[in-house]
């Protein structure tokens, strides 16, 4: 009785907090956790035709997705896309941050210039790059094409198109990641830097032994965001290539969209979503401590 009473007292004391959290929890329950539950259930069912009743098919959707060359192709593309956008944009971001770490009028202007692409919608960036990559009359061919013996068809050649798409992502994200490195560089102690160059350490050694170790948490954080972006930021594929030519720019989220909206195959779309979520949960587990620390712990 006593235990029960103590428990109900503690619950009563917690009630105001629950009421304050309720609005947020309702929407989290509906659109995040409920949605995950629905994905799990939907992935187990299938309709023979869009109008037919659903029937339980177990893991059939999962195996159908895994056997679909369009899906495995999209996964491979997405891995190439993730690595090929994360490494150059993070490398450039670090360069920009190191070069612009000192605040003055010139560096503020350069920071703003490099940050502009972050602000604009991916759809607008796509509209601009559609012309940049346009064969023969486009910006790239007009200026650089004269230097090349054979002009690649940037968006039309299955071997090139994914790389063209990657360029847009790098252009759009490098300035964003730069901000985190700029913030991280503030934490590098000035007196240690000074001591290092008094000891005769050149710029490379100061970078290697002082700056980079100090930036380790920033790197971890930016890598997580870059990976998330590689999965979620696919608007340019919709606008520019529709996954083509011959599926060479098909990415996982676009595949999911195609299954759900173009083929009305909710079972397969849910199975693909489930696999993507599982992969991201793995990443979450890896980065959870970093994120929890960043948000100040529970």
């Amino acid at each position: 009785m006593d235990v029960l009473k103590r428990f109900s007292n503690r619950f009563k004391a917690s009630l105001p907090a629950y009421l304050l959290l309720l609005p947020s929890l309702v929407f989290l329950a509906l659109f995040t956790y409920g949605a995950m539950g629905r994905v799990l259930v939907d992935a187990l069912y299938q309709r023979a035709t869009p109008k037919a009743p659903v029937r339980f098919v177990g893991l059939d959707n999962i195996s159908a997705v895994l056997a679909d060359p369009a899906f495995t192709g999209a996964v491979v593309n997405n891995l190439v896309y993730a690595v090929g956008t994360a490494i150059p944009s993070i490398g450039l971001a670090l360069l920009f941050a190191l070069a612009l770490a000192r605040t003055n009028a010139v560096s503020s202007a350069l920071r703003a210039a490099l940050f502009l692409p972050v602000l604009i919608p991916m759809v607008a960036a796509s509209a601009l790059f559609m012309f940049i990559f346009l064969p023969n009359v486009g910006l790239l061919d007009y200026y650089i094409g004269r230097l090349l013996p054979v002009l690649p068809n940037w968006l039309g050649d299955p071997d090139v198109a994914l790389y063209a798409i990657m360029i847009i992502t790098i252009w759009k994200n490098a300035g964003y990641y730069m901000l985190f490195f700029l913030a991280g560089l503030q934490a590098v102690p000035e007196d240690v830097m000074e001591a290092a160059h008094l000891d005769g350490a050149g710029p490379y050694r100061r970078l290697r032994h002082i700056i980079l170790p100090e930036l380790k948490p920033t790197f971890l954080f930016v890598i997580v965001i870059a990976t998330l972006n590689a999965v979620t930021q696919v608007d340019h594929v919709f606008v520019m290539t529709q996954g083509g030519p011959s599926n060479s720019t098909n990415l996982v989220l676009f595949y999911i969209y195609q299954q759900a909206v173009e083929h009305y195959d909710v079972g397969k779309a849910s199975a693909a979503t489930l696999l993507t979520l599982a992969a991201l949960m793995g990443l979450t587990a890896l980065s959870f401590r970093t994120m929890a620390n960043r948000e100040g712990g529970p």
Binding site: P23, P121, Y142, L228, L283
Partner: protein, 289 residues
Amino acid sequence: MKLFDRLFRDAPLATRGEITPKLGILLTVLLAIVWLIPFLWMIVATLRPASDGINAMAELMPSLKPTLDNVRDAWEIGDFPRYTLNTTFICAGILLVQFVTITLAGFAFARLNFVGKTPIFYLFLMQLMLVPVLLIVPNLSLVAQLGLYDTLTGVMMPFFASAFGTFLMRQAFEAIPTELEDAALIDGASLLQRIRHIYVPLSMPSFSAFAIISVTSHWNDFLWPLMVINSPDKRPLTVGLSVFTKTAEGTQAWGTIAAGTLMVIAPLLVTFLIFQKRFISSFVTSGIK
């Protein structure tokens, strides 16, 4: 070299002679110019008369006979005022609801002790990774079940709770000295009154930082509204622009596309250029929206 001297004015004396940092700056300047080229082209192409022909379309030198024809065409072909209104409505609606949800939840995490605080904290934290765009398929069916398919409310709903905003407000509220609240407590102020009259007014910088992140990210949302919205007159700017681009691409009207793109991004760019410092510091706190 005068410029370099000025840039390194506050660098330690011994490092001013080093070459590598200067090469880094030079490379960054070159890349910053490359980074701006798409914007430069957009402006030049917007002002270029159609009579210059398709072969001069890529020329970055501005035309000597600038015209606003492209802007007029884009204005007439695309329904941009309507799209802008829809996007504004979506962003404002999301933001207003978010302000309420994140203030209440942020306060609970900052100032109250309750059973299950740690698991609930992690429930919020997980949402940072489970970005709504990944859950488009189940959320579309939910929105349809709620009868909100093809409505702007349906576009807004998945974003009403924000873990990022909750954490931001928690941080802001924690920094407010409890003495202020104690004084109000003695005066008999209720919980909601204390939040409304003490915590909220003292946390305006965090609200504005959150507003910047929320509005820019939802101004730019594309995939989700594309799936929820069916009627042309309910399209937000991004969806409208993609449809407009498809149409104009068929006729090779690149000047019109440039003008349309300019109209879509101009509001954000102008606001950014005015409040540059604020934008940048807000984005630093964002990380994951």
